[in-house]
Symmetry: C2
Subunit: 345 residues, 2 copies
């Protein structure tokens, strides 16, 4: 595939770049009025996720409107547990909610692995194909999935939580069940990511949103082990691993078969580089709240971050998803500042 | 004051101890059936907080029933913002909720400092006096307050949040307002802590529950600066500082005028000791979820933690508040294991 702009792929691979590439987690589906117009025409977030033409449309919007260096397919990490047998709802102002959850071995009937992923999640794969047609080679398209530990959290807890104590309880009371479920999620996730590649994803990112709630030993056993299995299985396209809130996992992530490691806004870039070394690209990490500042302050804070880079191996992003009430004009200032920045490496 | 058991005070000061002292954050007011009976006789959590006799009663329960080495006064960190002018409610399964919040300079009328704390929070001080009478010198009584940054989060956001983006936004858009409010909270908190000492608190702990949502630079400016002011002002009794989720603040905390530093279950004890050095006591840090394990596993995990101590300067606790659905018998196993452990230092 030949791209008009393949900056992000080159940055991921550690090749020479003329400037740092930039995109934003949650760039599709949060801040743009054009997105809200599409969403308002449907019954809600889930219908949008499941309607390939519209999902593709909001995927492409940030490429057209914001000028980002990559698109990311508009979807949700919870399509995987749903495909396995646990339907979810998204409750306004509350977040995801699962009626059924996995508590015992018997509940594993709701954690199927023997289904045709291309069929069950065809709406995502179709959206990828349509989005790529519309992007028409301008920029690469990123596919994604939740990390097994994060998906496990939702499949057992059934909803968001400050402590995820229901999910974490199982690690102590029934580690065998935990590993069985994590293995199943991992196997399905690998198939799902491969299907996204086949459908046309040019890069992949695995999000471990709840990495930070486990201590190091448990995260190694119940989190990183499965991240590693996924990383080992993905050889076709550049892969980004993002363990939010778990900076102590950086050295382990740096040894996995990945190109890029995401860092949140609480992680010091110099520290992360020292730990990860020169053979991985770092992605991040402006505080999403920085985009609430004035335009000149957004510019200053973005330049501060760029000045702290000591390598060409960076993909610029926020340290978390962009917040819904951020002014898109501030996002444009962020992107413009990155594009105007003269790379030293 | 002469105690039958002053182990925790000696551990805080780094004096010799015959065994490690142990207590649990949230030991009062969560797990005991005896607590639930008291609470069921009242309209709810807030009435209990505001009724000194009953607050004292549940404060003493864990001393009688669990055999902990300290009591902690049953109260809530949100009594401070309420005293300043922002009333809160506790909504079942949702947590705290404030009708009014601080968004602009005008809202600072709801952040008063010129009131008589001994009068406004007399119910807490009265509860301390009654609890001490009932404890009758068996163990010391711990007083506490929220750290200014955490109180700021609630006063601006008005409720719990995964990101506290409303609170953090102010740090970018109006840092002057942020510092004004943080200064006010700090001044009131110092007065409040001193009042607790006068009422009979033998130790104090300051909880920064939301330390972990700020990057290092912002936490230094908007969090640690005010923790430091409090620490400098408290010279009468041993002080514990707990910045949950912010292990990178350990070296700064270790330079403050405190005896003890709390560590959460995600923090490696050996790392914490290396950073903090030998001149501070560490408090923590068993994963609260470990208490969901079998009795033998609770014992094993507790001994593992104790074996990782390389100093006498430890107060044993969980790495976070005990979860409400933990079996009190498991808590007893945890405590018994600590009491039976032979200290090497």
């Amino acid at each position: 595939m030949k791209f008009q702009n393949d900056l992000i792929l080159r940055a991921a691979r550690g090749e020479d770049i003329e400037r740092y590439p930039v995109w934003l987690m949650r760039q599709a589906g949060r801040i743009l009025p054009e997105y809200r117009a599409v969403r308002a025409s449907l019954s809600g977030f889930k219908e949008l996720v499941e309607t390939p033409e519209r999902a593709a449309e909001v995927t492409v919007q940030p490429v057209d409107i914001l000028g980002v260096d990559a698109a990311i397919i508009f979807s949700d990490i919870l399509v995987v547990p749903e495909a396995m047998g646990l339907e979810y709802q998204l409750i306004e102002k509350k977040g995801p909610w699962f009626e059924k959850t996995i508590k015992t071995e018997e509940d594993l009937i709701f954690a199927a692995t023997d289904f045709d992923i291309e069929d069950k999640l065809s709406y995502v794969l179709e959206a990828i194909k349509i989005a790529n047609k519309e992007i028409d080679g301008r920029v690469p398209l990123i596919g994604f999935a939740g990390a097994p530990w994060t998906i496990f959290c939702y499949m057992t807890e059934g909803q968001g939580s400050k402590t995820f104590s229901v999910a974490r309880k199982i690690l102590y009371t029934n580690p065998t069940l935990a590993h069985e479920l994590l293995n199943r999620i991992t196997n399905v996730t690998i198939k799902y990511l491969k299907a996204q590649i086949n459908a046309g994803a040019h890069m992949l990112q695995v999000f471990d949103s709840w990495a930070g709630i486990l201590g190091d030993e448990q995260y190694a056993e119940f989190g990183l082990k499965y991240m590693d299995k996924i990383a080992a299985a993905i050889t076709e396209v550049p892969l980004t691993l993002f363990a939010k809130g778990a900076p102590s996992s950086l050295s382990n992530l740096g040894e996995m078969n990945c190109n890029t490691i995401g860092i949140d806004w609480n992680t010091n870039i110099t520290d992360a580089r020292r730990i990860v070394g020169e053979n991985r690209t770092l992605q991040g990490n402006l505080d999403p709240c920085a985009l609430y500042s004035s335009h000149s302050e957004v510019e200053r804070l973005t330049n501060n971050m760029l000045n702290s880079f000591e390598s060409k191996r960076h993909i610029v992003n926020l340290g978390h998803g962009v917040y819904p009430d951020v002014d898109p004009e501030k996002v444009k200032t962020f992107i413009k500042t990155v594009k105007n920045y003269e790379i030293k490496y």
